[in-house]
C-alpha cells in the first residue's frame, strides 16, 4: 500500500502552486479551440469507433453463424454422429397452411415413410412403436 501511495505523494508538490490549468495569478488558461476539439470531439469519437469495431464486427470464424433466439434459421441441416438414411430419400411433405417454414432447406421430393398408414393428425398420437423421449421448446 505504501508503494501505491508513492506516486501521489511525489506528484503532490506539482500542485503546490495550483492546478495545471490555472496561472499563478489564479486566472484560468483557455484551452484553445484545437484542444477543445481534440478532447471533447476527436477522442470520444475515436473511443466510440474502437468499441464499435470490437463489438459490432462480423464474426471472423469461417462458416460460423451465431444463433440468435427469435431470428430465422436458414442454415443447411446438419447431422452429428450418423446421419439418418431417410434424409436421402425424404418423402414430400404436405404443404403447410402457414407457408414454407423458415429454414426449410430440405429438398422437396419425397421420402420413405416408415409407416405409410400413419399421417396427418395420427402422428400426434402416442407412438405405437415403443419409442420414448421428450420434447421441449424455448
Amino acid at each position: 500500500m505504501a508503494l501505491l501511495a508513492i506516486p501521489f505523494l511525489a506528484a503532490s508538490p506539482a500542485y503546490a502552486d495550483g492546478p495545471p490549468n490555472v496561472n499563478i495569478d489564479g486566472v484560468h488558461k483557455p484551452l484553445g479551440t484545437v484542444n477543445i476539439i481534440l478532447i471533447f470531439v476527436l477522442i470520444p469519437l475515436a473511443l466510440t469507433a474502437i468499441l464499435m469495431l470490437i463489438f459490432l464486427r462480423p464474426s471472423t470464424a469461417p462458416g460460423a453463424q451465431r444463433y440468435r433466439p427469435g431470428r430465422g434459421w436458414d442454415a443447411k441441416p446438419a447431422w452429428f454422429g450418423i446421419e439418418s438414411r431417410t434424409e436421402l430419400n425424404r418423402p414430400a411433405l404436405p404443404p403447410s397452411p402457414e407457408g414454407p417454414l423458415v429454414g426449410d432447406v430440405l429438398e422437396p421430393g419425397a421420402v420413405a415413410n416408415p409407416d405409410p398408414g400413419r399421417a396427418g393428425s395420427d402422428r400426434r398420437a402416442p407412438s405405437p412403436t415403443g419409442v420414448g423421449g421428450a420434447r421441449g421448446s424455448w
Binding site: Q65, R66, W73, A78, W79, S84, E87, L101, R124, G133
Partner: protein, 145 residues
C-alpha cells in the same frame, strides 16, 4: 441469417466429440440433427429414427429445430430401457435453457453429456462390478486367507 453452414469447424469438432464421448460412455448410438423440422416434430423424429435403425437396437436421436425453437429427444425401444423418458425430459429442460440464451452448441453438448450420464450401464458391466465386489476383499489380500 444467410443460408450456409450453421457451425464453424471448431463447433463441428466439438459436437462430434460430444457424440463420440456419449457413445463410448454408454455403448448406445447417438445422432444429432440440427435444422428445419417440417410438420409434427415427433413424427419427424420417429421417421428419422427409423432411418437409423441399421445402427442397432439402442439409438438416441436428438432433433433441434432452431427456427421452430424446439428440441426433441427420441429413444428407440431398446434405448428406452436404459434411458428413461424422465431423464430425457430433464435433459430437454436443460437444453432449452441454453438454447434460449443463444448457446446452441453448448446446449447440445451438455444435453448429450446428461443423456450419457443418465443412461443405465449395461447389465454385463453390472455383473462384472458385482463379481469384483464379491471377490474383492479375499482377492485383494490373498495373504490373509
Amino acid at each position: 441469417m444467410a443460408a450456409g453452414d450453421a457451425f464453424s469447424r471448431e463447433q463441428r469438432l466439438r459436437l462430434n466429440e460430444a457424440v463420440r464421448t456419449a457413445e463410448m460412455q454408454t455403448g448406445m448410438r447417438f445422432s444429432v440433427y440440427v435444422g428445419a423440422v417440417p410438420g409434427d416434430p415427433q413424427g419427424f423424429a420417429e421417421q428419422e429414427l427409423a432411418g437409423l435403425r441399421h445402427l442397432g437396437p439402442e439409438v438416441v436421436l436428438v432433433v433441434v429445430g432452431p427456427a421452430e425453437r424446439l428440441v426433441q429427444v427420441t429413444t428407440s425401444p431398446g434405448a428406452r430401457t436404459r434411458l428413461s423418458d424422465q431423464a430425457c425430459a430433464l435433459t430437454v429442460l436443460s437444453m432449452t435453457t441454453s438454447f434460449g440464451l443463444g448457446d446452441l452448441v453448448g446446449g447440445i453438448v451438455v444435453g448429450l453429456r446428461m443423456l450419457a450420464d443418465a443412461t443405465t450401464p449395461l447389465r454385463s458391466e453390472h455383473n462384472e462390478q458385482d463379481s469384483h465386489a464379491h471377490e474383492g476383499p479375499a482377492g485383494s489380500v490373498p495373504g490373509l486367507a
